[in-house]
């Protein structure tokens, strides 16, 4: 009897840049997706053994448990400053921060703006989930007008609580910023585009072309009080109109380098 050998056709595996540790994220949370995209890019570019990651304070505080690279854990909002310190003494290494919207756009607004203005050659993965996930879903600087959170129980009232901050647009006004884009993680097509942007952001860094940031529209099903699927739909129906996807800043040198 003839034996039939079916050749292995491996289509999916755990990135080498991940540790074996399972993540602690809630079911359906897109933090896990964003992590995976970063790990895949680190794999593809072979960067893991010369990368130092900087974890934020927020739900991704334990990011360092999941990435198989050197990692440090910053104080709330200070990741870009810490990354600056690392990059300045290890200019040939890859330094990235991974930050939530409370971390980056509220308590850490000063640090991120100045890191971008200085053109620090670091990469920032910015998770915009329109609330403070870790502390129980309070209002974030990115919370949409009228959006209910645990600290804006009747919906964000812009009269008293101000307007949301569009981080990509804001940072794109800075001369020092090299690559600033917004993508979304709400469906596979957008996830693929997000990965491409993350790859470009790291390429910008390896080419020494300055500050790169990828804003990722993300979900927080737990604090939004939605199923994971509804949360993804909500990103599309509510966040996309307020936070348009796009390339907000691509410095001429980056275009010229054809990354």
């Amino acid at each position: 009897m003839a034996t039939l050998t079916i050749p292995d056709n491996l289509v999916y595996e755990r990135p080498q840049s991940f540790t074996d540790s399972p993540t602690h994220y809630c079911p359906g949370c897109t933090h896990g997706v964003a992590h995976r995209l970063v790990a895949e890019v680190l794999d593809e570019m072979g960067l893991a053994n010369r990368t130092v990651g900087v974890a934020p304070v927020g739900c991704s505080v334990f990011a360092y448990n999941y990435f198989n690279t050197d990692f440090v854990e910053a104080a709330h909002g200070r990741a870009p400053a810490m990354a600056t310190g690392i990059k300045r003494v290890l200019p040939d290494h890859i330094v990235f921060t991974y930050q939530g919207d409370g971390d980056l756009a509220s308590i850490g607004m000063g640090e991120i703006v100045h890191a971008a203005a200085r053109g620090e050659n670091i990469t920032v993965i910015f998770i915009n989930n329109a609330n403070y996930g870790m502390t129980g879903g309070q209002m974030a600087p990115t919370t949409l007008p009228g959006m209910k959170t645990s600290s804006s129980p009747s919906g964000r009232d812009v009269e008293t609580q101000g307007y949301p901050i569009r981080v990509a647009e804001l940072l794109a006004t800075l001369e020092g910023a090299g690559f600033i884009v917004r993508r979304s993680l709400h469906d596979p097509a957008n996830i693929r585009k997000a990965k491409k942007a993350i790859r470009t952001a790291f390429e910008v860094q390896t080419h020494g072309l300055g500050f790169s940031l990828v804003e990722l529209l993300s979900t927080c099903p737990t604090n939004w009080g939605m199923t994971p699927v509804d949360a993804l739909k909500w990103v599309e129906s509510h966040m996309l109109p307020f936070y348009p996807l796009g390339d907000y800043k691509i410095a001429p040198a980056i275009t010229a380098a054809k990354i």
Binding site: A55, A74, A75, R78, I86, L90
Partner: protein, 371 residues
């Protein structure tokens, strides 16, 4: 090397460079600006890192990041800026990595003024940031002493994986003195077994100050404490002047100690048996030596440019055995030697009580003086 005239802040900055400083991050604040300014040209000239940060908050966290790689790093500031750094200082302490900090103290609280003060003794010696941790604090009284202390500060920070603070005041930062600078040491990054500098041919490393599991955090606290015990055993430093037969011992650190030395010399010229004890390591504090001196002297006079912050440590060491008097100037006022001499003379004839309250008594005398 020949002696040259140097301004305190610049000399300290240059001494740090010569001690192998690889990266400096800071923010302008008087009276420490010359440290930042000196390094703004010196560091790039040597191909080393210099960043003027957006604030002290940024500066201390840049220092935190750079220190994680094992590089020799420092920042400097003055009182309000150090307050802003306290979050980062606590994180650095909790991460157990070496950092050197220079605080050129000025008058406070609040915005205060830019005059020399010692008002931040408690802040840096007793905590400041949250959590259980200790900082090594060294207080020089001259530019030469400060310069000689810079390599030591880095060595201690690296040896004990801790923050080492060189605590001076605006007068040491601003004045000029003839000094001899140390030889240039090469900036050679050590390959520390904890440094997060890229996981090349080794397992990856994590540096963090988070221990969610309380028993793990407790272990970390105990580890810090153990290291602190070793520091207390090995790193006490102080200077003594005319103590052999001293009946009155003046105790003061930094500039207050230096001014007090002039007063002690003048008192000796008048035949008074007075000496000076000048703690150099403020943290760890030389409790044992102070206690020993209390066994020999008739009275202590503590002199500070604050409201009696180190006085508490002296009282702890003395434990009520001899009378302690206090003389302080506050808010950026530097005492003259004559003021301290007057105090020494007053004490030499006074009928001192063991149960006196040195701060309250001093305040009564101050009120008469500062009307």
């Amino acid at each position: 090397m020949a002696r040259e005239l140097w301004k305190g802040n610049e000399a300290i900055a240059e001494a740090a460079v010569r001690a192998g400083l690889e990266a400096y991050f800071g923010y302008p604040i008087t009276p420490q600006n010359e440290i930042l300014e000196w390094l703004s040209h010196r560091m790039p000239e040597l191909g080393r890192a210099f960043v003027q940060a957006e604030a002290e908050l940024g500066a201390i966290n840049m220092v935190y990041g750079a220190a994680c790689t094992g590089a020799r790093v420092m920042t400097s500031s003055s009182s309000p800026g150090i307050s802003l750094m306290m979050e980062g200082i606590s994180y650095i302490a909790g991460t157990e990595i070496p950092v050197v900090l220079v605080n050129v103290m000025r008058g406070g609280p609040g915005l205060g003024n830019i005059a020399p003060s010692q008002g931040d003794y408690n802040q840096i010696c007793k905590g400041g940031g949250h959590g259980d941790y200790h900082v090594i604090v060294l207080a020089p009284a001259s530019i030469q002493e400060a310069v000689d202390m810079m390599p030591l500060a880095f060595d201690l920070a690296e040896k004990y994986l801790t923050i080492c603070c060189v605590l001076i005041d605006g007068s040491i930062g601003q004045m000029m003195e003839p000094i001899e600078l140390p030889e240039m040491r090469p900036a050679q990054r050590k390959d520390f077994p904890w440094a997060t500098n890229g996981a090349k041919n080794r397992p990856r490393r994590i540096l963090t100050s988070i221990y969610l599991d309380p028993p793990e955090e407790e272990k970390t606290n105990l580890r810090l404490l153990k290291r602190w015990e070793a520091i207390q055993a090995n790193e006490i430093r102080s200077k003594e002047y005319f103590l052999d037969d001293a009946e009155i011992v003046v105790i003061g650190f930094g500039t207050a100690g230096r001014v007090a030395l002039s007063a002690v010399r003048a008192a000796r010229a008048k035949g008074l048996k007075v000496g000076l004890f000048r703690p150099v390591s403020l943290s760890p504090y030389p409790y044992a030596r102070v206690a020993e001196l209390a066994g020999k002297a008739k009275a202590f006079l503590v002199v500070e440019m604050n409201a009696g912050q180190m006085l508490d440590d002296v009282r702890l060491a003395v434990n009520g055995r001899i009378p302690i008097e206090f003389y302080g100037r506050l808010g950026g006022v530097v005492p003259f030697p004559d003021e301290i001499l007057d105090e020494i003379q007053r004490i030499s004839t006074a009928d001192l009580q063991l149960d006196g309250n040195p701060v309250a008594d001093w305040m009564k005398r101050m009120e008469a003086m500062v009307r």
